[in-house]
C-alpha cells in the first residue's frame, strides 16, 4: 500500500513537472529568442519520453490548441466561452493532454487537457 502511494506520488510529481514544461514552452513561443532554450526544453521532453520510465515507456504531452472540439471528444475537460456552442475550437490550453506511451503502441491518456473552447463562427464574425 505504501509502495503504491509512493508510486502515485511520483507519477503526480512527473505530471506536475510536465505541465510546467508545457507552460514554459507556451510562454517561450511568444519570446523572440534563438532556439537555445527550446533545446533544453526538448531535451527535458525527450527525457520524459525515453528515459525516465525505462526504454519501453514514456510520458508525452500534446497541446490541442486550435483543434476542433465537440461532445465526442473526452480527452479534454472543456469550458465553453461565448454564447455559441457550434463549430467549437480550442482557444486556450491550461493543461495539455498527457499520454503514457508503451511498447505495445497504445498511448493511454493519463491526464486530460484543461481547455477553453470557443465557437469559430464568432471568430469569423469578429474578423469581418
Amino acid at each position: 500500500m505504501y509502495h503504491q502511494k509512493k508510486l502515485a506520488a511520483q507519477m503526480e510529481g512527473m505530471l506536475d513537472t510536465l505541465n510546467q514544461i508545457f507552460e514554459i514552452e507556451r510562454k517561450l513561443a511568444k519570446i523572440p529568442e534563438s532556439n537555445s532554450i527550446s533545446r533544453n526544453l526538448n531535451k527535458l521532453k525527450y527525457i520524459f519520453e525515453n528515459q525516465l520510465l525505462g526504454e519501453e515507456n514514456g510520458l508525452v504531452y500534446h497541446n490541442p490548441i486550435n483543434e476542433k472540439f465537440d461532445e465526442t471528444r473526452i480527452d479534454c475537460e472543456a469550458t465553453i466561452a461565448g454564447e455559441s456552442t457550434e463549430n467549437l475550437i480550442i482557444t486556450e490550453v491550461i493543461k495539455p493532454i498527457i499520454r503514457l506511451k508503451t511498447s505495445d503502441g497504445l498511448n493511454q491518456i493519463i491526464q486530460k487537457a484543461i481547455v477553453v473552447v470557443q465557437s469559430q463562427n464568432k471568430f469569423n464574425e469578429g474578423e469581418n
Binding site: 465526442t72 454564447e83 503502441g105
Partner: protein
C-alpha cells in the same frame, strides 16, 4: 450473496456514483470513459444521440435547452424539461433514468445489474421518493430500495470504523458538495437509525468559492496592473471580450483552491490578457490560505447557522452530539472543518471519503437486503451479428468506420469508445447500417470498442467488439532497415573505437533517435582538433572500418565559437526518412552551435581525409594483431593477417596520393576495398575477442557473486541475478558487443560494492598516497588529504575515506587516471 441486492447508487444532484458490496467490502466502479469515481448528473441530446456525464456537463450552462443538469431538484414535480433538438419534453424521472443507465455501464463484465439501493436526500417527500424509484425501474432495475443520504454516509462510517461501533446517540451529517449543501441530524436508538431533522441550501458549494477567488482576488489585481473600463462585464457576460479568460481563470482558481488544502499559499498565473490600452499582462498572483479563508468565511458561517438552527430546534447542546460527519468534496478544505468545529464545539469526523461515502454506505446496505424476485437467466438473449468495414491502417487524423448489423435490432442502441479514453460517440439507436468518423491518435495503435445495449443498457454480447486502426504505423508492411545503423564512438577499454547502435536491423522506416554524449577531450577554438560524427551501416559487432559510412560530420576547432571543454554535452539527432535520407545534427551545448547535414543514400559519402585516417587505424590494428598472434605462435593466423596487412598497405599508398577534393571514383573503390579488408580482419580475429570477452565474463561473475555474498545488499543481489539470467543467450551469441555490454554492467556493480569495502578503500589509499605520492600534482593539498585519510582509517569512517580517495585520484596525472582514446571526441 447472489440473492442480495449488493449494488448501491448515489444519485446525486451534481454527481452520481455506483458501488457494490463484495464479501464484506465495497468496490467503487470507475467511469469507463473518464476513470473517475463519479459521473456528473447531466444529460445531453443531439439529434438522435444521448450523452451523459462529463461530455454533457461541458454544454450544460450554455445550451440548457438541449443539455439538462440539476434535475434532481425537480424530482416529483410536474415540471418537465423541453428538449429543443428533440421537440419533446423529458421529465426529471426520465433524465434520472438516463444517469442510472449510464452507471450500469460502469459495471461491465458482470451479470445484469437488476436491483439497487438508490439514495435520496433527507428532504425528499413520498412523491419525490416514488419518482426516484420509478427512475430506477425505467433504467431496468427490477427492484429499487431507497435509502436516505445521511444514513448512507453514517453506514459508510460505521463499516469503516468497525471497532468504533455506533452506540445509541446522535450526530450530524454535513454534506458540502460542488453546488449544494445539506445537513441532517441522525439518531440511532436500539439499533435503528433515523433522521430527526435536516436543513439545506440548493445553491451553495465549492463552485461559489472558485468564483469568489476570481472576482474578489484576481479582478482587483488585474485592475491594479492593467487598464480596464468594464472588467466584470467583459469577463462574465457571454458576449464579453474576456469571457474565455473568465472561464480559464475559474479553472485556475479551482486548482489554487485545491492546492490551498495542502499548502499555505498558491499561485495563479496571469498571462495572455491584453488590457484596454493594448498592454499585455503577465504576472503571478499569490494567494495565502488566510486570504482564501477570509473570502469564504461568510458562506461557511451560513452553513454553520443551519447546524445551529437544527440544534436549537431540537434542544441540543454540543455535548449531545457525538460528532459531525463531513462529506462532499468541499469538506476537504481545512478551514471548513476547523470553522465548523470552532463554532459548534462538536468533534469533527473526516474518516470517510467525502466523494464516495454515500454510495459506499448504500452498497453496505444493499449487501444486507435480499432480492424479492427470482433471478432467472434470460432464456432468449437477443442475438445480433456485426460485420465491420474499416481500414486497419491509416495516415489520416480520422477514419471512416461502417458496420452492417444482422438480427433483431429493435430497441437496441450502440456506442463506440476509444480505449485510451479520448473519444466517446455517445449512445445512438442501432440501425442496419451504422457509420462513424473515428478520430485517431497519431502514431499509435487506436483500439475502439463497439458496444450494443438494450433499452435499459444491458450489454448484448457480440462476437467481435474491437476496432483496431494503426495510425502512422502503416510502414509495418513497408520497409525495414536492412542493416544496423551505428554511431562510431571512442572505446575507453581498448583504446580504439567501437560502434553504438542507432537503429537496429529490421527497425522500421521512417525513424528517429536522439543520443546525448559527453565530450572526452577539450577542443580549443581555432585549433586543428576536431570532433567526428560518423554514422555507419553494417553489423554493430563488426569493426567500424568494416562498415560503410553513410553520414559524416567533422566539427573543426576553426568552426567553434568558443573552446569546447571536456565533460560538456553534445546532443546528436539522427533521422532517417522513408526514402532513406539520413539527417544528422549535432548540437554543442556549450557554444550553442548546431551542425546539421542531410545525406542522400544515392550518393555515397566518402572524404579522402576520412579514408586516410581509417586506413592508418586499420594498419595499427592489423600490426598489433600480428604481433599478438606471433607471440602465441599461431603462425597460420599470422600468415592470414599478413596477407591482409599487405593489401591495406597497398590501398593506403593509393589513398595517400589522392587529392582531398578528388572527384574520381577511385576514393570509392579504395573505400570498398578498405571495408572488405576490415571485414576480413574482423573474421580472422573475432574468435579470439569473443573468447576473451567470455573468459572475462566468467571471472567477473565469480568475483561479483563473492563480493555480494560478503558485502552486497538485496538490491545488488537482484541486479546481479537479472544480469546473469541472460547468460545463456548472451554468452553463446557471437556478438562481442553484447558480451561486453553485460561485462560492463557487472564491472560497474563490482566497483560500486568495492568502493564500500574497507580493504579496498585502504588498499587504494595506500596505492595513491604511498606508491604514487611523488606523481601527485598538488602535493600540498594532497598532503592534508592524506592526513585526513589516515584519520578516517583510524576512526573507521569509510564514507569519508571513499571521498578522500576520489579527490586524491584527481591529483594523479590524467593519463594515469584513464587511458582513453579520443579519436572521435566522445564515448
Amino acid at each position: 450473496m447472489e440473492n442480495m441486492i449488493n449494488y448501491g447508487i448515489d444519485l446525486g444532484t451534481t454527481n452520481s456514483v455506483i458501488a457494490k458490496y463484495v464479501k464484506g467490502d465495497v468496490e467503487i466502479f470507475k467511469n469507463f470513459t473518464t476513470w473517475k469515481d463519479t459521473l456528473p448528473s447531466v444529460v445531453g441530446f443531439k439529434k438522435d444521440k444521448i450523452f451523459v456525464g462529463d461530455s454533457a456537463k461541458v454544454y450544460s450552462e450554455k445550451i440548457p435547452q438541449d443539455v439538462v443538469a440539476g434535475f434532481k431538484r425537480k424530482m416529483g414535480t410536474t415540471e418537465s424539461f423541453m428538449i429543443k433538438c428533440l421537440g419533446q419534453s423529458k421529465t426529471p424521472t426520465e433524465l434520472s433514468s438516463y444517469v442510472l443507465k449510464e452507471l450500469k455501464l460502469f459495471v461491465q463484465n458482470e451479470k445484469d445489474v437488476d436491483a439497487a439501493v438508490i439514495t435520496i436526500p433527507a428532504s425528499f417527500d413520498t412523491v419525490q421518493s416514488n419518482a426516484t424509484k420509478e427512475a430506477g425501474l425505467q433504467a431496468g432495475f427490477k427492484q429499487v430500495v431507497l435509502l436516505q443520504e445521511p444514513i448512507a454516509a453514517s453506514l459508510a462510517y460505521a463499516n469503516k470504523a468497525k471497532e468504533k461501533k455506533l452506540t445509541d446517540g446522535q450526530w450530524m451529517v454535513y454534506d458540502l458538495g460542488g453546488g449544494t449543501f445539506d445537513v441532517a441530524l441522525v439518531k440511532i436508538q436500539n439499533g435503528e437509525m433515523r433522521i430527526l431533522d435536516h436543513e439545506g441550501d440548493n445553491f451553495l458549494g465549492g463552485r461559489d468559492f472558485d468564483r469568489l477567488i476570481v472576482e474578489k482576488l484576481v479582478f482587483p489585481k488585474l485592475k491594479e496592473n492593467g487598464s480596464f473600463n468594464n472588467l466584470e462585464q467583459d469577463m462574465k457576460s457571454d458576449n464579453g471580450k474576456y469571457n474565455a479568460k473568465y472561464a480559464s481563470l475559474i479553472n485556475k482558481a479551482e486548482a489554487a483552491k485545491i492546492n490551498l488544502s495542502s499548502q499555505t499559499a498558491a499561485d495563479i498565473e496571469i498571462d495572455n490578457i491584453i488590457d484596454d490600452n493594448s498592454k499585455e499582462l503577465d504576472f503571478s498572483i499569490s494567494i495565502a490560505r488566510s486570504e482564501f479563508e477570509n473570502l469564504i468565511k461568510v458562506q461557511v458561517d451560513n452553513t454553520i447557522e443551519m447546524i445551529k438552527k437544527i440544534m436549537v430546534k431540537n434542544s441540543l447542546t454540543p455535548v449531545d452530539l457525538q460528532f459531525i460527519l463531513m462529506i462532499g468534496g468541499s469538506t476537504f478544505i481545512p478551514f471548513v472543518k476547523n470553522r465548523v468545529k470552532e463554532l459548534t464545539q462538536v468533534e469533527i469526523n473526516s474518516d470517510i471519503d467525502p466523494t464516495t461515502a454515500i454510495a459506499i454506505g448504500a452498497a453496505y446496505y444493499a449487501g444486507t437486503k435480499a432480492k424479492n424476485f427470482e433471478t432467472v437467466e434470460l432464456k432468449k438473449k437477443t442475438k445480433v451479428k456485426v460485420k465491420m468495414a474499416y481500414p486497419k491502417a491509416s495516415n489520416e487524423k480520422e477514419e471512416f468506420f461502417a458496420a452492417r448489423i444482422e438480427g433483431s435490432i429493435e430497441g437496441l442502441n450502440y456506442r463506440i469508445t476509444r480505449e485510451d479514453g479520448g473519444y466517446d460517440s455517445g449512445t445512438k439507436p442501432l440501425k442496419e447500417k451504422i457509420q462513424e468518423d473515428l478520430p485517431l491518435v497519431e502514431d499509435a495503435y487506436n483500439f475502439f470498442k463497439l458496444i450494443i445495449v438494450d433499452e435499459t443498457n444491458n450489454i448484448i454480447k457480440i462476437d467481435n467488439d474491437t476496432i483496431e486502426i494503426a495510425q502512422g504505423k502503416y510502414s509495418i508492411a513497408g520497409q525495414p532497415i536492412p542493416h544496423d545503423i551505428c554511431l562510431e564512438v571512442d572505446d575507453t577499454e581498448t583504446g580504439r573505437t567501437k560502434l553504438e547502435m542507432i537503429f537496429g536491423k529490421n527497425s522500421l522506416l521512417p525513424n528517429k533517435k536522439s543520443i546525448s554524449k559527453r565530450i572526452n577531450r577539450t577542443i580549443i577554438k581555432n585549433s586543428n582538433e576536431n570532433i567526428r560524427i560518423n554514422v555507419l551501416e553494417g553489423p554493430q559487432s563488426a569493426l567500424p572500418e568494416a562498415n560503410q559510412s553513410i553520414g559524416f560530420i567533422s566539427i573543426k576547432g576553426t568552426e567553434l565559437e568558443r573552446d569546447i571543454i571536456k565533460g560538456s554535452d553534445i546532443e546528436l539527432k539522427f533521422e532517417i526518412s522513408e526514402s532513406r535520407d539520413l539527417t544528422v545534427s549535432a548540437y554543442l551545448t556549450l557554444s550553442n552551435q548546431e551542425f546539421k547535414k542531410t545525406y542522400n543514400p544515392k550518393e555515397r559519402y566518402v572524404t579522402v581525409n576520412m579514408l586516410k585516417t581509417d586506413l592508418e587505424d586499420l594498419e595499427k590494428t592489423v600490426n598489433m594483431e600480428i604481433s599478438e598472434v606471433e607471440e602465441r605462435e599461431e603462425f597460420e593466423t599470422a600468415k592470414e593477417l599478413k596477407k591482409v596487412q599487405r593489401e591495406i598497405e597497398k590501398i593506403h599508398i593509393q589513398a595517400a596520393i589522392l587529392p582531398e577534393d578528388s572527384g574520381t571514383d577511385e576514393k570509392f573503390q579504395i573505400e570498398d576495398k578498405k571495408r572488405k579488408l576490415a571485414q576480413e580482419l574482423t573474421n580472422i580475429t573475432k574468435d579470439k575477442y569473443i573468447q576473451k570477452a567470455r573468459a572475462e565474463y566468467f571471472d567477473l561473475k565469480k568475483n561479483t557473486q563473492k563480493l555480494i555474498e560478503e558485502h552486497g545488499n538485496d538490491s545488488e543481489q537482484r541486479h546481479f541475478n537479472d544480469l546473469v539470467q541472460s547468460e545463456s543467450t548472451v554468452i553463446n551469441s557471437n556478438s562481442i558487443s553484447r558480451i561486453k555490454e553485460i561485462n560492463d554492467q557487472l564491472y560497474s556493480l563490482n566497483s560500486t560494492i568495492l568502493w564500500r569495502t574497507p580493504d579496498f578503500l585502504i588498499g587504494l589509499f595506500n596505492y595513491v598516497s604511498k606508491e604514487n605520492y611523488s606523481r601527485l600534482n598538488n602535493q600540498e593539498m594532497a598532503k592534508s588529504l592524506i592526513e585526513a585519510g589516515k584519520f578516517a582509517i583510524q576512526s573507521e569512517n569509510w564514507d569519508r575515506l571513499s571521498g578522500i580517495n576520489s579527490e586524491l585520484l584527481n591529483f594523479l596525472p590524467k593519463q594515469m587516471q584513464n587511458e582513453i582514446t579520443t579519436k572521435i571526441g566522445f564515448n
